[in-house]
């Protein structure tokens, strides 16, 4: 059996293995661990209420598995913050955390600042746009970390239907993964192809891992995590959990193009850092896309800068905070 096959056999789980939340709570208490749930948000008033309600009810009020639920918001102009607060989440504006370091736009910024703001030994990140929310989205990811000391980073994978207005399509999703990320991993990091959905926005990670890796603030944050954790800790630090079905918003092709561009830039930077390509190559920040407007082709140019936050452990403010 190859290393990847062994990993697939031993480090791939199904959420139902961890459905006995009471036992998870007992084991967590025995290990004296704390768990924080972070939901990065930007204008998510439609779905945030039920995510908070479902997680608080099942994982705090019924069983005390989670110690805090927080949303880190990028400046929503709808009622995301009010709704989340009304149902019992701690709410933070990303710009108010480490304000002297400025504000960068992107989900990765919120994830990075969560490490500073939240207290848990384990942080679970869950996207705010899940339509069929269920407690398994959290206990399925936390379970492997509680029962397996050697596992450090647990990624979700799904059968992911896309939801369009009024109808549910039976299958799909993960287009950027299959067209871009897995082919790249196949070429340069073959072991990582065993991670079914490297771009999924749901994962649970030990603090000591999160504080040791840099965070691109844009589209590339998940890809960079996978490569960096693999480089630092190896394949066996990963696990993945089948969370079955996830219904989410469909993304248009142009947005997927931007996402792919951001991921490619982050990937390229990792390749240079690891000496897999020449350092001479300089990449543009511009993504070019086309659209047809009234019988004319129009060229669109977008600046996609993949800024990066350093490992949290390198910040004196963080060192001071955790030593308190």
């Amino acid at each position: 059996m190859s290393k990847v096959e062994r990993w697939l056999k031993h480090n791939t789980f199904h959420h139902s293995l961890f459905a006995d939340i009471n036992s998870l709570v007992k084991e967590k208490k025995r290990q004296e661990k704390t768990i924080s749930l972070c939901i990065p948000t930007l204008n998510e008033e439609k779905t945030i209420g039920k995510e908070i309600v479902v997680f608080r009810s099942a994982l705090i009020e019924r069983y005390p598995l989670i110690d805090e639920i927080a949303i880190i918001d990028s400046g929503s102009i709808d009622k995301t913050m009010e709704v989340a607060h009304a149902f019992g989440a701690d709410v933070y504006q990303s710009k108010d955390i480490l304000p002297h370091l400025g504000e960068k736009k992107g989900k990765g910024e919120n994830l990075w600042k969560a490490i500073y703001q939240l207290k848990g030994d384990i942080i679970v990140y869950i996207d705010a746009d899940i339509k069929n929310i269920h407690p398994r989205f959290v206990y399925g990811l936390v379970g492997p970390l509680i029962y397996h000391k050697e596992i450090k980073y647990v990624k979700a994978f799904y059968d992911r239907p896309l939801s369009d207005a009024g109808t549910i399509q039976p299958s799909g999703g993960g287009r950027v993964t299959e067209i871009l990320v897995r082919p790249l991993f196949s070429l340069f990091f073959p072991e990582l192809t065993a991670i079914v959905q490297p771009l999924s926005g749901e994962y649970a990670v030990r603090r000591e891992v999160l504080e040791a890796i840099p965070f691109p603030v844009g589209y590339g944050v998940e890809t960079s995590h996978i490569i960096d954790v693999h480089t630092l800790f190896g394949l066996n630090a990963f696990a993945q959990t089948d969370l079955e079905r996830r219904v989410h918003r469909n993304q248009d092709t142009q947005r997927l193009g931007k996402m792919s561009f951001g991921i490619l830039k982050v990937f390229w930077a990792r390749m240079i850092k690891l000496g897999l390509v020449s350092q001479d190559a300089v990449l543009t920040e511009k993504l070019r896309q086309f659209r047809v407007m009234e019988q004319k082709y129009e060229l669109l140019e977008f600046d996609i800068t993949e800024e990066e936050r350093p490992p949290m452990i390198d910040l004196p403010e963080y060192e001071k905070r955790i030593s308190q």
């Binding site: 008033e45 439609k46 779905t47 209420g49 039920k50 309600v53 479902v54 608080r56 009810s57 099942a58 009020e61 019924r62 009622k79 009010e82 709704v83 009304a86 149902f87 019992g88 339509k131 069929n132 929310i133 269920h134 939801s163 207005a165 009024g166 109808t167 549910i168 219904v247």
Partner: protein, 385 residues
């Protein structure tokens, strides 16, 4: 009984603390489509939620009903709480539930994911309120209830009960203050009009199925609907035609006859069947009437202590009550001589529309009302008529 009513307000206040627990189950239950005869996935989830609420026993039967049992300390009596699993909405409709500050939006929430949710969360709420009863509480999420289901789930259980039932309370999401203790006679039927393949379109007066089903409708509307006993014919749905250039040869009309008298239901049914024969003869098409569901009228007396207790509970909680008949599971219970009522849990806007909204705030009143009625049954206040 005053002591129980005084507790009602306290319960209401405390139940508010468990709002998230109720809403969380509502989200999960409401997001699973369950059109009649396709309730399997919802049934599985309800079974999981009963178990998560620490019921003493959780079982399913061959019909797809799922039960949770809260054992009473003496097990002398059993009160059955029923909510139907199925909804009128098909699988393909987006069942996403959304929670805002004061309301929950989704499909089929008030009828009746909320009723089911109250059952799945009740064991935990009773535990948190430290309430224990001498009476057994049997929670039943019933299958195959609506339309063509024709109350199959509850009928099956009542014919094959695994424990005797003394009282039944049907729990509906909408509307708080509703009190049903009688069932009206009801017949649901479908009229199918079809033109034969060999139909002669050159014949004088040849018309499409739409025109002919319209003829059926006009003749049904001419049928007198008596005020005593109160009776009515409701036209519910019509379906025919496909596109331009295609002459429709099929048409379907769904209708419902309701009356306080079983004889009047039969009389109106006869007249509707005659209309079918008449239109078939005059149009050259085939007109058939199919019975979908039927209920016999009946009920417990307005003076029955269960009705009195329910009304007094609503008064104690300052819920304006509204008496109305029902055609749901109540009818089946009453037909089996089980004293039964139907009550609602909150208020809904856009009831039975795809963007239905149920109000969060009144829910604690609705659940307190249910617990208070159970307490009164447990204390024996409903025992003697």
């Amino acid at each position: 009984m005053d002591k129980i009513f005084k507790q009602a307000k306290k319960h209401e206040k405390r139940i508010r603390e468990y709002r998230n627990i109720v809403l969380a189950d509502l989200v999960m239950i409401g997001e699973i489509p369950a059109p009649t005869f396709s309730e399997r996935y919802k049934k599985e989830l309800v079974s999981e939620r009963f178990t998560a609420s620490n019921v003493d026993d959780c079982v399913s039967d061959e019909m797809g009903n799922v039960f949770g049992l809260i054992k009473g300390e003496e097990e002398a009596k059993t009160v059955l709480l029923i909510a139907h699993l199925d909804t009128v909405f098909p699988q393909k409709i987006d069942h996403t539930v959304s929670i805002r500050q004061n309301m929950v939006t989704g499909v089929g929430l008030a009828d009746n994911s909320l009723g089911v949710t109250v059952l799945t969360t009740l064991p935990l709420i009773l535990e948190r309120l430290s309430l224990k009863f001498r009476t057994n509480i049997l929670l039943m999420a019933s299958s195959h209830s609506l339309g063509r289901g024709n109350l199959e789930g509850i009928q099956y259980f009542l014919k094959n009960p695994f424990m005797p039932i003394d009282y039944a309370i049907c729990v509906e999401g909408h509307r708080l203050g509703r009190l049903s203790y009688s069932s009206i006679g009801m017949l649901q039927g479908e009229i199918r009009y079809s033109l034969p393949e060999e139909y002669d379109w050159t014949k004088f007066g040849a018309e499409s199925a739409i025109v002919n089903i319209n003829d059926v409708i006009n003749k049904i509307l001419e049928i007198p609907q008596p005020k005593r006993p109160r009776s009515t014919i409701v036209l519910n749905a019509i379906e025919s035609g496909a596109a331009f250039s295609i002459v429709p040869t099929q048409a379907t009309l769904q209708l419902e006859v309701r009356s306080e008298s079983a004889t009047m239901v039969q009389s109106l049914e006869r007249k509707i069947r005659n209309v079918c024969v008449e239109v078939a003869a005059s149009s050259g098409g085939e007109v058939k009437f199919y019975e979908i569901a039927r209920r016999a009228p009946g009920g417990i007396s307005f003076l029955h202590p269960l009705v009195h207790v329910a009304q007094a509970t609503m008064d104690a909680l300052e819920i304006p009550s509204r008496l109305s008949p029902s055609t749901s599971e109540l009818a089946a219970c009453i037909a089996h001589q089980i004293p039964a009522i139907t009550i609602g849990m909150t208020f809904a806007k856009k009831y039975n529309e795809v963007n239905e909204q149920v109000m969060i705030e009144p829910l604690s009143q609705g659940i307190a009302q249910l617990i208070t009625i159970i307490s009164a049954i447990d204390e024996g206040y409903c025992d003697d008529e």
